[in-house]
């Protein structure tokens, strides 16, 4: 009876604090026998009990110099077996001086692999084995050796799919964090580039790296990133999106407060502006903090093409940002409330095409927009072979057939199409989806209050954007709070030689990025 009550109590506390009990579970396995024992048989027993029912763990026993027992543990398919044979097993088996088996000497003299570190606890061993590094345990030694021979199937560095450029590097991040940090290190060779690693996820033990440039990034920012990442307690991280949601400032805003990129050049440029990059193993998307609205509207190519083109493209993008947000609702508002604003001839032709349409403009716009969104979603998810069928059917449905059957008017189709194009012209996918989402409430307000509704929703969006902060940096900076000197990288894209300073909210620490007076000018002695 008493025992049952205890059981019940245990069950209750278990439910009360699952995370705590999960932690305890982990420590039960690992911390009881924290240090390796000197007996190989015992070590093997414990490891086998930990890796119970893990058929992919391989135990390979061999003798060092025909006498000392040793055990090699690795996970099949995660380690480079050829290298292991050549650099670890064969030198150890052929070892002569048997009595002097000493970890340090083995490490320094015998193992012909470049990365080998001693491990002394079970936790260490498990971590190394799980991340693909084989571990050698030797009888009568309280230390094992983990050999850095992890090697698994990974995708090659390819062109980034989500952010393509005409001019600019074609490399993109991959799913392997080591490759990604290399891509950054190859661009920023200074030892000031710091890469701090931590593991997040109780089960997944996902590697997360914080990258920053020492002396450029604000110390308090690095501290804050560290703190926010350190607070995450979760079972596993599958994508940097998990982390993004844990560390963003306002989780219920439609606007992304953290930039993600799969381009190493964007990540490096952000590092040079004093921002912090967070990389997550298992996904090509790394996060950049802090982020402002304007960096969501900039593309890497703005800085690679010539300055004037860059400026014009930026203006185009800003105007299409507004079009993507406001065009359908303006159409609805003008047709419902403010017909007098349309020039007479245009009004007549619109009225003619709307003659047979049975719905009010708001319903018509909603139908078309929802169909378009569904079509777009279908196009993304479908296998590539079927994708073309969707676009053909879609073009027929929301194009020709809808108009000729009189369900929607031709101008409405145009409005939806232009809105679609406009939202594709925004370089960041997550900024574009924010607009797609906001379009619908604005359309409703436009249908009920006309242009006034549009103005009010626009003001509400501006108010919301002014309240947003990304890691302490106002989301609308440098426009609000105004920093006149930075307007040349927001309203314009000034030539590189005139972009002398870093953005002041992230780069105030080390203000100047280049020396003065580098603008091209004719040589002094020319006539």
């Amino acid at each position: 009876m008493k025992r049952r009550r205890e059981m019940k109590k245990l069950d209750f506390t278990h439910r009360l604090d699952i995370s705590k009990s999960l932690d305890e579970e982990k420590t039960q396995i690992l911390n009881e026998n924290d240090a390796l024992s000197s007996s190989l048989i015992e070590n093997e027993k414990i490891l086998k009990s930990i890796y119970q029912d893990c058929s992919d763990v391989v135990y390979r026993k061999f003798l060092i110099g025909r006498e000392t027992q040793a055990l090699l543990i690795y996970i099949e398919g995660m380690s480079n077996i050829e290298e292991m044979d050549k650099g670890v097993i064969s030198p150890l088996i052929q070892l002569e001086n048997v009595n002097l088996v000493n970890i340090q000497i083995l490490l320094e003299e015998k193992l012909t692999v470049s990365k080998a570190t001693p491990t002394s606890s079970f936790q260490d061993v498990i971590q190394q084995v799980s991340s693909g590094n084989p571990v050698i345990l030797i009888n009568r030694q309280i230390q094992g050796i983990s050999v850095g021979l992890g090697k698994w199937e990974k995708r090659a560095v390819e062109e980034p799919m989500a952010e393509s450029v005409v001019r600019g590097p074609r490399e993109g991040f991959t799913e392997t964090i080591a490759v990604n940090t290399t891509l950054i290190r190859r661009r920023i060779k200074s030892p000031q580039l710091k890469i701090k690693k931590m593991n997040i996820g109780r089960y997944s033990q996902t590697q997360v790296a914080i990258l920053y440039i020492d002396g450029l990034a604000d110390k308090s920012l690095i501290e804050e990133v560290n703190n926010r990442l350190g607070r995450i307690k979760i079972d596993g991280i599958m994508e940097s999106g998990y982390i993004e949601e844990f560390i963003e400032d306002n989780p219920f805003s439609p606007f992304p407060q953290i930039l993600n990129t799969e381009r190493p050049d964007i990540a490096s440029a952000s590092l040079l502006e004093g921002r912090v990059v967070i990389m997550v193993d298992g996904t090509p998307f790394s996060l950049i903090v802090p982020t402002t609205l304007y960096s969501l509207l900039q593309s890497a190519e703005d800085y690679y093409q010539r300055a004037i083109i860059g400026t014009l493209i930026r203006w185009l993008r800003y105007s299409f940002f507004l079009i993507a947000l406001l065009l359908p609702s303006s159409y609805v508002a003008i047709l419902t409330f403010h017909q007098e604003m349309v020039p007479t001839t245009l009004l007549l032709s619109v009225a003619k095409s709307r003659e047979e349409v049975p719905f009010p403009a708001l319903i018509e716009a909603l139908i078309m927009e929802v169909t378009f969104e569904a079509l777009r979603e279908a196009g993304i998810r479908l296998p590539k072979q079927v994708g073309s069928a969707v676009s053909i059917v879609g073009a027929l449905v929301i194009g020709q057939a809808a108009v000729s059957s009189g369900l929607v008017s031709a101008p409405m189709v145009m409005v939806v199409a232009i809105t679609g194009i406009a939202s594709f012209s925004i370089p960041r996918y997550n900024a574009a989806i924010a607009l797609r989402m906001l379009r619908f409430p604005i359309m409703f307000l436009a249908g009920t209050l006309g242009l006034l509704g549009i103005m009010l929703s626009l003001i509400a969006i501006i108010v919301h954007l002014s309240t947003l902060r990304s890691f302490g940096v106002p989301y609308l900076s440098p426009m609000a709070p105004m920093q006149y000197s930075e307007m040349k990288d927001v309203l314009l894209r000034a030539p590189w030689w005139s972009l002398k300073t870093r953005p002041h909210l992230t780069g105030a620490y080390n203000q100047y990025r280049q020396t003065n007076g580098q603008n091209p000018k004719p040589p002094k002695d020319s006539e």
Binding site: P343, G450, L452, M455, A460, V463, S466, P481
Partner: protein, 369 residues
């Protein structure tokens, strides 16, 4: 302090511009033209003197009480009982004035765009957006106006640019036909608007760069004066003696624009300017009222007051006048004295007492020391 945020003096100046101008551009050109005739463009220049004076008053009071707002130093200057009385008067005054602004907004939208929509919806929807901004605090209001106001001024100037070909310079002559009197008389109503600058006394304590406060305050007064002069010149040049007969001269002027058969009916731009400008104006007054109320009752946070006061403001708006004609009549006649006595009279009175107090304390201090 209740408000944790800081704004820059430039942000304050930007905020204050539409806080004065937003309601000016609708009714005031007609009211000024009634008194000043073709000299109505001179009136804002006279009126701006009051603007400089109120900014100076607010600044000097702030010098004496650097971390307090108007409501707080009422107590310190007049003592507990009288201070509370004057504070309450101020709060009721701001409740009334903000209500009037809400009504002006509602009447305009009702009269020109959404003739069938109930007033409560129009005012209520605006108040919700304003409450959203006030809830965000001073920094948010500052940043919003930094985004909104430059666009507004640009659009506003564009309207006048597009009107240039229709302007007839003869309408302006003879300048000062009857001497200074008409323009001075016409300046009385704009003066009451310029005296609204006293509201900067709610922002001075929260400036990050206090030393520039006076300078930017003056710049703000000047910018308002400049835009008012432009408005009045354009309406006079466009409509001549007709100006005083129109209710919303700027609105009619925007309707007048027709370029290349394409740029027509730009009143929607005026509406956009007007709505956004009024948003800033209501938000600034609403914020000051909420902050003042919280300080009056010595609350630790002003946010719980935002919604209740928002409701009150909509009600005061609807109660303050039954229709536009009555409102316009009130603004054109007795309002000037009402506004001026509260926004200039009482602050001068406060400043005098404060100066005497400070002098007296100094004397007492030097005598005992």
């Amino acid at each position: 302090m209740i408000e944790q945020g800081k704004i820059s003096s430039a942000q304050m100046a930007i905020m204050m511009n539409p806080s004065i101008l937003a309601t000016v551009i609708l009714l005031v050109p007609a009211i000024t033209a009634k008194n000043a005739g073709q000299d109505s463009w001179i009136s804002p220049i006279w009126a701006s003197v009051i603007g400089y004076l109120t900014v100076l008053l607010a600044y000097m009071l702030n010098k004496l009480y650097p971390n307090q707002t108007l409501i707080e130093y009422c107590d310190l200057i007049l003592g507990k009982f009288l201070g509370k009385v004057v504070g309450a008067l101020f709060l009721f005054y701001y409740l009334h004035v903000t209500g009037i602004i809400v009504l002006e907004y509602g009447e305009f939208v009702l009269g020109t765009f959404l003739t069938h929509t109930p007033m409560i919806i129009i005012c209520g929807s605006m108040m919700i957006v304003c409450a959203f901004a006030v809830y965000g605090g001073l920094e948010v209001i500052g940043r919003c106006s930094e985004i909104i106001v430059p666009v507004l001024c640009l659009l506003y100037l564009v309207i006048f640019l597009l009107l240039i070909k229709d302007l007839r310079i003869q309408n302006m002559f003879p300048i000062m036909e009857k001497g200074l009197t008409p323009s001075l008389k016409g300046s009385i109503v704009p003066q009451s608007w310029f005296s609204e600058f006293i509201i900067v006394s709610f922002f001075f304590p929260y400036l990050a760069d206090k030393d520039k406060g006076l300078k930017w305050g003056f710049i703000s007064v000047f910018s308002v004066m400049f835009l008012m002069v432009i408005t009045n010149i354009t309406t006079i040049l466009l409509f001549g003696k007709l100006t005083s007969e129109l209710t919303y001269p700027v609105m009619v002027a925007a309707r007048y624009i027709s370029i290349a058969d394409f740029l027509e009916h730009l009143e929607s731009i005026v509406m956009a300017i007007w709505v956004a400008g009024t948003f800033v104006k209501i938000t600034v007054f609403y914020y000051s009222l909420v902050l003042g109320t919280a300080q009056y009752f010595k609350l630790s946070d002003y946010r719980p007051m935002v919604l209740p006061i928002g409701f009150l403001l909509v009600l005061f708006g609807i109660w303050s006048a039954p229709n536009l004609q009555e409102l316009s009549h009130f603004l054109g006649t007795s309002a000037a004295f009402y506004f001026l006595s509260f926004q200039v009279g009482i602050p001068i009175f406060l400043l005098c007492i404060a100066l005497v107090r400070v002098k007296w304390l100094q004397k007492k201090g030097s005598m005992s020391g």
